[in-house]
């Protein structure tokens, strides 16, 4: 039972790594969480327009800062990131949609700024590669298990058999189950 749970957890973990969005999830959530948490309902809002600020952070949390490349534009203190956050605020104020803002960024810096890269010919391996590797591994595992199932008993090491005289080794709890008393 505990084993089954452990295996399920391992598979879930493997799957979460398999998705390219994995890298984007964490910073995006941190950014939007922070935006929500830093607005006490009674106190005055920190930003001029908290709703706008939250939308701005949601968008810039998925954009890579080109100056410090492992940070998002929402997180980074680089001058360029500060400027770009201001730019996004202004674009939102002018009613531009998040798609238009992402387009504005990719027009200047390319798909590299997107933490969620678009699905197209050049990103096919990125999106499908992990799933393909997983499928390949499952196929290999199935083949190996099937082949082993067909093997005769003498291909495997015999289970240890204990007679009544020899005391059971206490150090190996696994062998206990297989031995009749």
């Amino acid at each position: 039972m505990a084993d089954a749970r452990r295996i399920a957890a391992a598979i879930a973990l493997a799957l979460s790594f398999a998705s390219p969005a994995f890298a984007a999830d964490a910073p995006a959530e941190v950014a939007s969480d922070a935006a929500v948490r830093f607005q006490p309902p009674t106190a005055a809002p920190t930003a001029a327009d908290p709703a706008l600020e939250a939308r701005m952070l949601a968008i810039t949390g998925e954009l890579r800062c080109l100056v410090c490349q492992n940070q998002t534009i929402a997180d980074s203190h680089a001058d360029l990131a500060v400027d770009l956050r201001q730019e996004v605020r202004e674009m939102l104020r002018h009613g531009r949609t998040p798609d238009e803002i992402r387009r504005y960024m990719t027009d200047r810096y390319g798909d590299f700024v997107l933490y969620r890269p678009p699905f197209k010919a050049s990103t096919l391996v990125l999106w499908l590669g992990p799933a393909a590797l997983l499928a390949l591994a499952l196929v290999a595992l199935t083949i190996v298990i099937r082949r082993r199932a067909r093997l005769a008993d003498d291909h495997f090491e015999a289970d240890p058999v204990f007679d009544g005289d020899t005391p059971e080794p206490a150090s190996d709890p696994l062998s206990r189950t297989g031995t009749p008393a």
Binding site: Q69, D83, D107, R108, Y109, G110
Partner: protein, 176 residues
């Protein structure tokens, strides 16, 4: 079949080593600019030493020119600047500066101290034009053709090698 069992992991291993070896030589800071082959963005900026004179994108059409993004606060620009001063003496093409997120006085002083290779410097105080050019690491240099299309971009300091092996041949091609 037995041999294959050993050869497949070996082949996979070598492919992996190949990728990693290639990865060693890639510079993640050199992001291919989507602006290459596209029209340069619109701009209208005052000159660094003549605040009353504006230069626009349209003024630059009809000639192949170099736009060098620099700033007085930029460390790497100091390394690049002597090459640019020497290169300007060739009078191969007009060189314009884009003084990015700077102040007029220190910028002018910087050029007085180190020499001025520019036909003019555009003064981009708030960095808006820099953003439109996709600038993220000063210095950067753009080669723009007669139709106003960006043909080449250098991220980081220009070197004599880049000028000789890329900028000059491309310039000859565009003028030829």
């Amino acid at each position: 079949m037995r041999v294959l069992k050993f050869l497949i992991p070996l082949a996979v291993f070598f492919v992996l080593v190949g990728f990693l070896y290639r990865g060693l030589k890639l510079d993640p800071r050199e992001v291919p600019s989507p602006l290459i082959g596209k029209p340069a963005p619109e701009f209208a900026l005052t000159q660094l030493d003549k605040p009353e004179q504006t230069i626009r994108r349209a003024d630059m059409l009809g000639k192949v020119w170099l736009l060098n993004v620099w700033a007085s606060w930029c460390e790497a620009c100091r390394e690049e600047h002597p090459y640019l001063v020497e290169f300007a003496k060739l009078k191969a093409l007009p060189i314009y500066g884009l003084d990015y997120k700077d102040e007029r006085a220190p910028a002018q002083q910087w050029l007085t101290d180190r020499g001025n290779p520019y036909d003019a410097s555009l003064f981009d105080a708030n960095g808006r034009v820099g953003i439109d050019f996709g600038v993220y690491g000063v210095p950067e240099t753009f080669l723009i053709d007669k139709q106003g299309v960006i043909r080449f971009k250098q991220i980081g300091p220009l070197t004599p090698e880049v000028l000789n092996s890329q900028v000059l041949p491309l310039l000859r091609k565009l003028n030829g």
